[in-house]
């Protein structure tokens, strides 16, 4: 079975509706119409470009090019994590913590999935490696962003409480424990929701894609379960590493709360 061809004018019907939505938002002064259009435009441009890159990559299939694309994806994700936070840690630490935590989690999970579980030949075969990494990295990025945003924002808001607990002689990480717990929870909510809703509330995108492309549903389900677990592992470990590193960075060697290391919020 082949996938039904999709032409540009068919896509433009969906695009026209999206523009109508933006115009409605603009006419009703509800905002977001501008960022909606920019995001939609980004989707079209970015996906078109990555389509070209993937076609080139699939014909070459060299490890070096796969690694380079993976690195580019990681760096862009690291920048996004920083940009999406209200009060990120400033300087190299801010970008570094997000990037490092995504690297150790999403990358290890991808390599593990490829080399040990799925086992394509060669293990870095781009048809498998890039889409898998994309899914793990994208979801890990969301979780890491949410948890770091919650951590830094709550540490800022509750700085008086945290310092009061320090004054009573609590250790830094004990004084931050409530904040840390809620930050980790924020990072896990998307993956737990996704797993809980899978198949009943939502049909995951990759499984839908495989079924549309003609795979038997039972195989698509197995892949989807594997992907879900991979996403959970990537997001989960990414969240843990990010929260651990960032909460360490919120204090100095004398266990003083250092909210001055947070960038002031944008308005």
């Amino acid at each position: 079975m082949n996938v039904i061809e999709l032409s540009v004018w068919q896509l433009s019907i969906a695009a026209a509706l999206l523009i109508a939505l933006a115009v409605t938002l603009w006419l009703t002064h509800l905002g977001v119409s501008r960022s909606l259009l920019i995001a939609a435009l980004r989707t079209v441009v970015q996906l078109t470009l990555i389509g070209l890159v993937l076609e080139a990559l699939f014909t070459m299939g060299a490890l070096l090019w796969v690694a380079l694309l993976a690195l580019a994806m990681l760096l862009i994700a690291g920048r996004e994590v920083q940009a999406r936070q209200q009060r990120p840690l400033s300087g190299a630490w801010g970008i570094g913590i997000g990037t490092v935590s995504m690297f150790v989690s999403a990358f290890s999970v991808t390599v593990l999935m490829l080399a040990v579980i799925i086992g394509p030949e060669p293990w870095y075969r781009p048809q498998y490696a890039i889409p898998l990494l994309g899914m793990f990295l994208g979801n890990t990025m969301t979780s890491v962003t949410l948890s770091l945003d919650r951590l830094t924002e709550a540490a800022w808001r509750q700085r008086a409480v945290i310092e009061a607990r320090l004054m009573l002689g609590q250790r830094a990480q004990q004084a931050l424990s409530d904040v840390r717990r809620s930050a980790v929870r924020s990072g896990f909510i998307p993956v737990i929701n996704a797993m809980a809703a899978a198949g009943v509330v939502s049909l995951p995108g990759m499984m839908t894609g495989q079924i549309l492309a003609g795979s038997p549903p039972s195989l698509a389900v197995k892949y989807q379960i594997l992907i879900m677990f991979g996403i959970t592992l990537g997001s989960g470990f990414g969240t843990l590493v990010a929260v651990l590193l960032a909460s360490h960075r919120l204090f100095d060697g004398r266990q003083r709360l250092r909210v001055d290391r947070l960038r002031p919020a944008r308005h």
Partner: protein
Amino acid sequence: MLQLIQLSLPRLAPLELTVAPGQVLGLSGPSGSGKTRLLRALADLDPHGGEICLDNTPQTAFPAHDWRRQVMLVPAESQWWSDSVAEHFPERRVVDWQALGFDRDPSDWTIDRLSTGEKQRLSLLRAMAYQPRVVLLDEPTANLDERSRAMVETWLLAAIRSHHKMAIWVSHDDRQLRRVADQCLSLGPASVSA
């Protein structure tokens, strides 16, 4: 004995002073003169120059949390993060609630129903329940009525004298400082006069 040796903070002349066990140092000065900043430096919550010693051991020789348990800052505005009063107190401590006017044990009270004055009195009871050697009191009676103020003064002085604690007591009220302090220090806007 609490010693400040050439303690320096931004916009404040270097400080040199000693508080002996059982003694209270009164600290006054206009708003913005650095009283709270000085207390924060003593509790090692802000970076500072010079040295602070407790019984001849420098601050840096203590792990920071140990130091703060020994040299405890009680801020003007108290903070509460759990639901009930008891969760903020150390376990297995006998607290003399009555001394600060609580006729009933308030352990199971919820934080929401506490008045400002109750919070202030409870924050003093909480700090003393950790048995610090030095208490840094930032306006300890600011939110209290006359009766509670007298009660707090009596109780704090008794605790400091009988357990040989040391205290630095910040107040805007010069008469209060004359009642409680063994020596006084006034911080000026730029310089310091002892």
